[in-house]
């Protein structure tokens, strides 16, 4: 009974940090709003200036929700990839799915200016939708290729290499597109590539969060499969698991999560790689019944923290989320890894 109790306490602590970071994300920003006013706006009581209400409900709140579900989704995706490929370096981008999304976006952003004669940045809301659709289409196209390949090839490593190759191919095409595009379009694409939780707004946020609200619980259904995959193909099969089907289902689940998040937030690096490792170390288990919910919480918490740091007062808009995730995440993971090594030796 010691372990479940410890896990519950840890999970509660992370949940608390999620709530704390949510509140800080809403309370802090370039426009300083006093805490009592923030509280009034959140609870809907009292009289607060309309522009403050707008900032909180139209700008900060969508950002919080976006970071929350994106962090959770990417972390689950990373956990699934690491387990299915038995590779600690696997992350949501490993199969080239996010490269596919990037390619889709690059095609739209860079081609629309060159061929259509309209810069997408001027297209407003229609442009945003076009980007999202392009990203999802690109990611799904790559995923279809991967699933097709996973039918043909036997080994995990082969599949991984195919994924990495598809990624390179997509990046190569993006490079060519960039080379022939006008400067403003390239800049628009680069900014998309930096990733952001603030891009999703209004109606789109509703769609994004509701898609994720369906996908995240769905991906949880893979816990028994993932636990069996830990044992290796031979043992998993002997315990009644259909390896081929399991592999495709898990890749599909992780791929769709990555595709959706990338479509709405751009390629967010590092979270998907780091969070599963952090969870394994904090919870000292490889049981996905613990790791899955833990990754959701930890991913949400870390994404919110990174978003907070990205727009610390004075830095507003200066730091792209993608850089913060790596700047913050890398040292955390490295330090935990070092500590882990020591405790291993002491055992």
């Amino acid at each position: 009974m010691r372990r479940p109790l410890k896990n519950t306490v840890l999970a509660l602590a992370i949940l608390l940090s999620v709530v704390l970071f949510m509140f800080l994300n809403i309370a802090l920003g370039s426009v300083s709003i006093p805490l009592p006013a923030v509280w009034d706006i959140l609870t809907g009581t009292g009289e607060a200036p309309a522009n403050w209400t707008n900032i909180i409900w139209k700008s900060r709140f969508p950002q919080v929700l976006t970071a929350l579900v994106a962090g959770a989704g990417l972390s689950i995706s990373g956990l699934q990839m690491q387990t299915v490929f038995k590779n600690p370096l696997a992350d949501p981008s490993v199969l080239g799915i996010s490269s596919g999304a990037s390619l889709g976006v690059a095609l739209v952003v860079l081609m629309s200016g060159t061929i259509g004669g309209i810069a997408l940045s001027q297209a407003g809301i229609l442009g945003e939708v076009a980007l999202t659709v392009a990203a999802i289409a690109g990611a799904m196209a790559v995923m279809a290729l991967i699933v097709l390949a996973s039918h043909k090839v036997k080994g995990n490593v082969t599949l991984l290499i195919i994924g990495v190759m598809i990624g390179y191919l997509a990046n190569a095409i993006i490079g060519i597109l960039k080379y022939f595009s006008v400067e403003e379009d390239v800049k628009a694409y680069v900014i998309w590539g930096l990733g952001s939780f603030s891009r999703v707004s209004g109606d789109q946020m509703g769609i994004f969060t509701s898609i994720m609200a369906v996908l995240i619980p769905l991906s949880m259904l893979s816990v028994k499969t993932l636990n069996l995959l830990l044992l290796g193909d031979g043992y998993a099969r002997n315990l009644g698991l259909n390896i081929k089907r399991a592999r495709i289902l898990v890749i599909l689940s992780a791929g769709v999560l990555t595709a959706i998040v990338t479509a709405y937030c751009g390629p967010i690096a590092f979270l998907g790689l780091a969070v599963p490792h952090l969870c394994r170390m904090v919870f000292q288990t490889s049981d996905h019944r613990v790791l899955m919910p833990a990754s959701v919480l930890m991913g949400a918490s870390l994404a919110l923290m990174c978003n907070l740091l990205a727009r610390m007062p004075g830095l507003e808009g200066a730091l792209p989320v993608n850089s913060v995730t790596a700047l913050i995440g890398a040292p955390i993971v490295a330090s935990v890894l070092f500590r882990k090594r020591k405790s291993d030796l002491n055992e």
């Binding site: 259904l221 028994k224 044992l231 290796g232 043992y235 002997n238 009644g240 288990t285």
Partner: protein, 334 residues
């Protein structure tokens, strides 16, 4: 325990299916593996032991012929049903971090657990029983990656036990283990056939151990196919010596075990009996001297309280240790 054939092989051809051609590893395999018996598969590297085990575990289909598991063709079983009938212990060394022995053994319950893999009270009881059966209770809460090879192998066997299958197939369970661990694992498996009536089929390279502990031996050879029987029957009809006897290895009918052959340069009469006699004989064999009580020679060694070297040209020389005896003897023989 009643001995009924659980696995029956009929004219089995095993190998790998290619796009255009099949690669047959072994063909024409027939035989039966019985419950309540420990059956060891012996054969040189590359003869197809692992392929046979993989085929029997339904990891790959046979090229030709039939495998009957409890009277029904193996191919007719669903994955799920099979997972409650055959469990495996594989050579692939799974490098799982952050999983306790108890969790691993619990995974053996997967075929019986529900959608989330939650263990019921009955499942937990089975897991505990499996852990006790292989005597690893003190290790139950340890992480797998902190175990020694032998301990991990036992945990894997406990996992197979938790699976509660009548058949357990093990691929070289004693490889990479030190000698006491090898013996322990083999004795454990032997005990399981007796206590739980399991059908245990394993491949091994530990010839001596297999010959001493196995109920049945399956000898696998590229040319002769499979020959099966008790170790003693195989010894009597000459199959054992035929299989492995080659350069430097001979089958010793007296002990029923294999030993290294020597080219003798000398022959010495050895008198005495018991273990002191055997040990001197062994030491002399290593030094290329044939020594037993049937040899006629001038030089004679008597083993009794001490070791006495008798030489016609010198007075009897008592020696305190075999080392001293060897030195004295080599001086006398030169």
């Amino acid at each position: 325990m009643s001995k009924t054939p659980t696995l029956i092989l009929q004219q089995l051809s095993i190998g790998y299916r290619g796009k255009n051609s099949h690669k047959t590893v072994a063909a024409g395999i027939s035989g039966a593996i019985c419950s309540g018996e420990l059956t060891c598969l012996l054969g040189t590297n590359g003869v197809g032991k692992s392929t046979l085990l993989r085929t029997l575990s339904a990891f790959q289909p046979p090229l030709e012929g039939n495998i009957l598991l409890q009277g029904k063709p193996l191919a007719k079983y669903k994955d799920k049903a099979l997972s409650t009938l055959v469990s495996v212990v594989l050579t692939e060394k799974c490098d799982i971090r952050n999983m306790t022995v108890r969790e691993l053994v619990g995974m053996g319950r997967s075929p019986y657990t529900g959608f989330w893999g939650r263990l019921s009270h009955e499942d937990l009881a089975v897991v505990d029983a499996a852990i006790d059966r292989v005597n690893i209770r003190p290790l139950a809460e340890r992480m797998l990656h902190t175990l020694s090879d032998g301990e991990r192998q036992k945990a894997m066997i406990a996992k197979a036990l938790a699976q509660e299958t009548p058949v357990i197939i093990l691929d070289e369970p004693t490889a990479f283990l030190d000698f006491p661990s090898k013996v322990e694992i083999m004795q454990l498996l032997h005990r399981l056939t007796r206590e739980a009536g399991k059908t245990i089929f394993l491949s091994t390279h530990d010839l001596e151990l297999a010959l001493q502990i196995a109920d049945k031996i399956w000898l696998m050879d590229r040319n002769k196919g499979i020959v099966a029987g008790t170790p003693e029957d195989l010894a009597l009809d000459g199959h054992l010596s035929g299989f492995f006897a080659s350069k430097g290895i001979a089958f010793d009918m007296e002990t029923g075990l294999f030993r290294i052959t020597n080219n003798y340069r000398h022959a010495v009469r050895l008198a005495g009996h018991g273990y002191r006699y055997s040990l001197v004989r062994k030491a002399l064999q290593r030094n290329e001297i044939l020594a037993n009580r049937h040899v006629e020679s001038d030089i004679c060694i008597e083993t009794g309280e001490g070791f006495i070297l008798c030489h016609p040209a010198a007075p009897p020389r008592p020696c305190a240790s075999i080392e001293e005896l060897l030195e004295a003897l080599s001086a006398a023989l030169d």
